[in-house]
């Protein structure tokens, strides 16, 4: 039976034949994968750039130009470049070169895993004035309200994010409150029925703003000239 199945009549397959086959296939496989990788690499990088840009322009509708910056360990901003790594923030500039806002991302765990959100910060009103959910697994019908419910989105028209006297943290941490009880500009009016998701949104906004806003405010003058 075994011998019949074999294409070669030889009783035992020589070791070198196996080595030759496996080596040959591995070589071929490596060549193919490397080739495809080389071809697709620039396209994928471009896709990634376009995707971020789309999200940034969505939360900063007046912007027509995007510049990437990195939050430095010293609590300031630096242009993206070789050897600089850290969390990215995105400056949005209009056609005249004026800074219209800064976008950054926040993450918090919701009802079904992490919710990644991009927020827009407006240095003029010192508030968050835009949000877009980048990825989430929230239950359809509940979780997608974060991105579409007009009443909930009103929270992000001017969500207070002023800094305290020292300029190291928010004067009032952003927090989600129960639906219908919002009475401070730094509170987010929750969605009734999607309490966990809207609370996660508040935590994401607070955590992201606590990290990014102090740095943005410190280097604001510099940031305005970076268009």
């Amino acid at each position: 039976m075994e011998a019949q199945n074999q294409s070669r009549p030889a009783a035992a397959t020589p070791t070198w034949a196996m080595l030759r086959t496996l080596g040959g296939i591995a070589l071929l496989s490596g060549l193919l994968v490397a080739l495809v990788y080389q071809v697709t690499l620039p396209i994928i990088a471009e896709n990634q750039r376009v995707l971020t840009e789309k999200a940034v322009f969505r939360v900063l509708p007046q912007a027509s130009l995007k510049r990437d910056f990195v939050l430095t360990k010293q609590g300031g901003l630096a242009p993206v470049g070789e050897g600089v790594d850290g969390e990215h923030v995105y400056g949005g500039y209009d056609a005249a070169g004026n800074l219209v806002g800064v976008a950054f991302t926040g993450v918090a765990v919701g009802y079904a895993g992490p919710i990644r959100v991009m927020f827009a910060y407006d240095p003029e009103c010192r508030c968050l004035n835009g949000s877009k959910v980048l990825s989430s697994n929230e239950t359809p019908g509940f979780g997608d309200k974060l991105d579409f419910d007009p009443e909930f989105l009103k929270n992000f028209e001017a969500l207070d994010a002023r800094l305290d006297a020292e300029g190291r943290a928010l004067a009032n941490p952003i927090v989600t409150v129960k639906h219908g009880t919002k009475n401070q500009p730094w509170e987010i009016d929750g969605i009734s029925g999607a309490t966990i998701s809207s609370k996660a949104m508040g935590r994401a906004a607070n955590a992201a703003a606590q990290r990014a806003v102090p740095a943005i405010e410190r280097d604001l003058a510099w940031l305005k000239q970076q268009h």
Binding site: Y111, T139, G141, F142, K178, S192, G193, T195, I196
Partner: protein
């Protein structure tokens, strides 16, 4: 074997008469609860109960005809399913969704498994679990109890066109001028704001919630009557309630500001109804005495765990379904110890 003495065996008996009698008695015990639901929520609750029961009967009739079992509607068990399903839904639930729940519950939860006696899980809860996942917003939209004019008008969402989103009820509720209304059930208020509704209110049923889940005292009376009629195994409801207290009491003693009192746990939501009328479903619960107790404790404890630590404010539905799922396992675990205690229990095992 004398008629009607060992309730646990009945679905497997060849005597159709006794199955019918049991089922009729259970329907009778459910009627006061249905009547209270209608008194509390008005015409909408009546239509809801009629829809779930009607569609359940039609589904059973259709499947029993197709599978060549003859007409199995006459044994009344499907009426229980329909009534129980209606009682677990919010009173303003759109009727077309209730029909979907009844169809899925009886069709998928029971008929596809082979009909009465073969269903793994409680059909009414299968239907409810399906609509809970399919229409999560509609099934958590509550309307106030004792609305003025509830016998003259319907809750607007009741008559939603099939396949359409429920008609919003916010404006209608606001028009009722009910001051204390918050749009949430006592369970949700407790879970998210840690405010306990007074025990007297949840005990008597003067609160919002699913159509028939609100009056603990009434359910208790009907359940006890059924047990007195020897139509249910009282071990199951009692151990469900005991299981809930076992988890709730220590937590409440540790931190009574965050966790609800055991009394509140027992009387609120669907625990009472589920303990007396759903967990005790003869087909889907274990057939041994010790198994029944273990099964009840499991359901009760799990209900409280889901309520307090899960994402939903009510967990009794999933607890009973999970209990049904582990029922056969519990039966087989507890089997050898029971062997030889009575001859009947051994016979039962074979029959099952």
């Amino acid at each position: 074997m004398a008629k009607g003495i060992e309730i646990r065996t009945s679905p497997h008996l060849k005597r159709v008469m006794s199955v019918e009698r049991i089922m009729r008695t259970v329907v009778l015990a459910l009627l006061p609860i249905c009547a209270f639901a209608v008194y509390q929520f008005g015409l909408s609750a009546l239509l809801l109960l009629l829809t779930t029961t009607g569609v359940s009967i039609l589904t059973e009739w259709f499947f029993s005809r197709r599978s060549g079992q003859g007409n199995t509607v006459s044994n009344w068990s499907v009426v229980i399913t329909g009534l129980l399903l209606g009682l677990t839904l919010p009173p303003g639930f759109p009727l077309w969704m209730a029909a979907v729940a009844a169809f899925v519950g009886v069709g998928l939860g029971k008929s596809l498994f082979g009909g009465l006696g073969y269903n793994v899980m409680n059909p009414a809860l299968v239907g409810r679990a399906f609509v809970q996942a399919a229409f999560p917003v509609a099934i958590t939209t509550w309307t106030p109890a004792f609305a003025p004019g509830r016998f003259g008008e319907l809750i607007p969402s009741t008559l939603t066109l099939p396949f359409m989103q429920p008609i919003p009820v916010d404006a209608w509720v606001a028009g009722l001028n009910m001051d204390a209304w918050t749009g949430a059930t006592p369970l949700a208020i407790q879970k998210f704001q840690h405010i306990e509704t007074p025990i007297a209110d949840v005990f008597s049923g003067m609160v919002a919630g699913s159509a028939g889940e609100t009056s603990a005292i009434l359910i208790l009376i009907c359940g006890l009557w059924l047990a007195w009629q020897k139509m249910l195994d009282i071990r199951i409801p009692l151990s469900v309630l005991a299981g809930a207290v076992m988890v709730a009491l220590p937590l409440w003693l540790m931190d009574s500001a965050t966790y609800p009192s055991p009394w509140f746990v027992l009387c609120s939501g669907g625990l009472m109804l589920a303990a007396w009328f759903m967990a005790s479903d003869m087909v889907a619960s274990p057939v041994t005495a010790r198994g029944a107790i273990l099964y009840g404790l499991f359901i009760g404890a799990l209900t409280v765990v889901i309520r307090l630590f899960g994402g939903l404010s009510e967990g009794v539905m999933y607890a009973v379904l999970l209990g049904n799922a582990v029922g056969p396992l519990i039966s087989s675990w507890t089997q050898p110890r029971v062997y030889g205690v009575t001859r009947k229990s051994a016979d039962k095992r074979d029959a099952a």
